[in-house]
């Protein structure tokens, strides 16, 4: 087809003009739909809250799991009332196990002190408890995580040993929680996304209907199907982005509150920093919001583009 003005500055100016037109029309459609647009934004926000909540919870649990995983340690709890010689026997036996790189003895008193410290030193446990319930233990450091299970098994066979715990068990449990949270979030988010899609599409269909005369003229004078679509895509993207922005704010505010609360009551919990979560989650929600909005608008204009 013969197209005029192929010179670059013309082409640039043509694109800039079209872009201005798409943005202006898209914004106009969004604002003129008033309550419909608001409803579409809110449902998008709810959808993204479900997704965002799941992302944040799964992220935090995963973070804890990774932290625990790095602790290549087996804690060997000793029976109460062992003689110092018996403790030394255990130390010698543990030290001979393959892969053990460090051994640290934690006495009953020390265990209590550490526990109190991890609680933030709010209460004097010694005053509350008539006797110290915590056992003495050896913290065995291992060279590789895959040796943990074997060492734990060997240690538990020693007669002086009460119990053994190592991080892999905890990690397994935490990872299972992470998977469950992700799955639940994806299912709930997916169901809500369908609802959001339908509502966004109906909202934009209102704009399409209001503009049907304009669309008719556009087709008549030779506007391309994409040119006709773009303003509606912009409207959908604006809807999605607004919903995402609201969801991001709510999710981050909620997380900041949780972290703040946790610092008071569970200070030993290694939660990811709110800034880090904001960085990880915000862009994902915004991308999903825009994807939802654009998909909804394409659904809305589909029928009108068969010439």
């Amino acid at each position: 087809m013969a197209r005029e003005g192929a010179r670059p500055e013309r082409a640039r100016s043509r694109r800039a003009g079209a872009l201005r037109y798409f943005l202006a029309q898209g914004w106009q459609g969004f604002t003129r739909n008033g309550l419909m647009s608001l409803a579409a934004v809110v449902i998008t926000m709810v959808t993204l809250l479900a997704l965002g909540g799941a992302l944040v919870v799964a992220g935090a649990v995963g973070h804890v799991a990774r932290y625990v995983e790095q602790q290549v340690q087996v804690v060997v709890y000793l029976r109460d009332g062992l003689a110092p010689a018996a403790v030394e026997t255990v130390r010698a036996r543990l030290g001979r196990l393959p892969g053990v790189t460090g051994l640290e003895y934690v006495s009953k008193d020390e265990a209590l002190a550490r526990f109190q410290q991890s609680l933030g030193g709010h209460a004097e446990l010694r005053d509350l408890l008539s006797r110290n319930p915590l056992p003495a233990s050896f913290v065995v450091t291992v060279d590789r995580p895959d040796r943990l299970r074997g060492i734990a098994a060997d240690a538990s066979h020693l007669p002086q040993v009460e119990d053994v715990s190592y991080s892999a068990q905890t990690v397994q449990r935490l990872l299972a929680v992470t998977r469950a949270v992700r799955l639940f979030g994806a299912a709930l988010g997916g169901a809500l996304a369908l609802v959001a899609l339908v509502i966004i599409a109906s909202t934009i269909r209102v704009t399409v209907f209001a503009r049907r005369a304009e669309i008719e003229v556009m087709r008549l004078v030779g506007a391309t199907a994409w040119f006709i679509r773009w303003p509606f895509i912009v409207e959908g993207a604006i809807t999605g982005a607004c919903g995402a922005a609201a969801a991001v704010l709510l999710v981050l505010a909620a997380y900041a509150l949780v972290v703040h609360g946790a610092q008071g009551t569970l200070p030993f919990l290694p939660l990811p920093a709110p800034e880090q979560v904001a960085l990880d989650v915000s862009w994902k929600l915004v991308v999903w919001g825009i994807v939802l909005g654009v998909a909804g608008s394409l659904l809305a204009v589909r029928r009108y583009l068969h010439v």
Partner: protein
């Protein structure tokens, strides 16, 4: 008189004064140079049946040469509008071929249709103007939505409003214009892409006799400036006064085709 001014310039005059010459000479010029050998419109044994079962056109064969002025006449519902719709590819033929400047528009991919429509202008009985845009904005709209550089729009719009004699009412909304003036705006919009072909579907259907006559005069002037014009009508007076080519359609078939014809035939 606006009509005289318009006549002096015409659609051809617009192209010569078109701001940037050569490169921006307009689709019309380029198409004219590129394809001098093709008829403007060619129907080759065209039949159009709608899904409802109505057969609007039956085995129609005709040729319209560049720069012709053609009336398509016949009673309401005899396929006149369908004939035009096949040319601007609002409809595709059920069988046969419709060629516009040698392009088989019936088999044209959908995504090329917009570019066909930039090579022709269409005018309707009901004007199809956007009520919240001024005359100027209605005409500019046709350029804006086809990606014309904004710098070119104002000049082109002024030129075509001048051609149709509405330069003075450019800032009026359609509701503030008379029916005849509204039809002039729609003609300006149809011309703003400088098309070699102008289609008018009952352009005087909503107008009183005097206004109808003015509009037909305007179409005639546009034709004299080099644009091929095809007008469907059932206005006997106009056809009989103008004595241009008449293609009469009845029951979906061409029943008469004569140069310098009359509405009822038997000249």
């Amino acid at each position: 008189m606006p009509l005289e001014t318009g006549g002096d310039r015409g659609a051809g005059g617009v192209e010569q004064r078109g701001g940037a010459p050569a490169a921006a000479g307009g689709v019309a010029d380029q198409v004219r140079r590129a394809a001098p050998a093709f008829p403007m419109v060619e129907f080759d044994r065209v039949t159009k049946a709608y899904p409802t079962g109505v057969v609007a056109l039956r085995d129609v064969t005709l040729r319209i040469e560049p720069q012709e002025f053609v009336f398509v006449v016949g009673p309401t519902g005899t396929g006149k509008s369908t004939l035009l719709k096949l040319i601007y590819r609002e409809e595709a033929p059920t069988s046969g071929r419709v060629l516009v400047r040698g392009q088989d528009v019936g088999r044209m991919p959908i995504r090329q249709v917009p570019f066909l429509r930039r090579q022709l202008g269409v005018v309707f009985q009901d004007f199809r103007l956007l009520p919240r845009k001024t005359a100027r904005e209605n005409v500019a709209f046709a350029l804006e939505v086809t990606g014309t550089p904004p710098a070119l729009v104002d000049g082109r719009v002024r030129e075509v409003l001048d051609v149709v004699g509405l330069a003075a009412r450019a800032d009026a909304l359609p509701g503030e214009l008379s029916a005849g003036e509204q039809q002039r705006v729609s003609i300006a919009r149809a011309l703003v892409h400088r098309p070699p072909l102008l289609l008018a579907d009952e352009p005087t259907g909503n107008l009183d006799p005097d206004t109808s006559w003015e509009i037909v005069q305007l179409l005639s002037q546009i034709n004299r400036a080099g644009t091929t014009v095809v007008v469907t009508t059932h206005d006997k007076t106009i056809v009989d006064i103008l004595r241009r080519r008449v293609i009469a359609i009845d029951g979906g078939a061409v029943v008469r085709d004569e140069q310098r014809g009359l509405y009822a035939g038997g000249a």
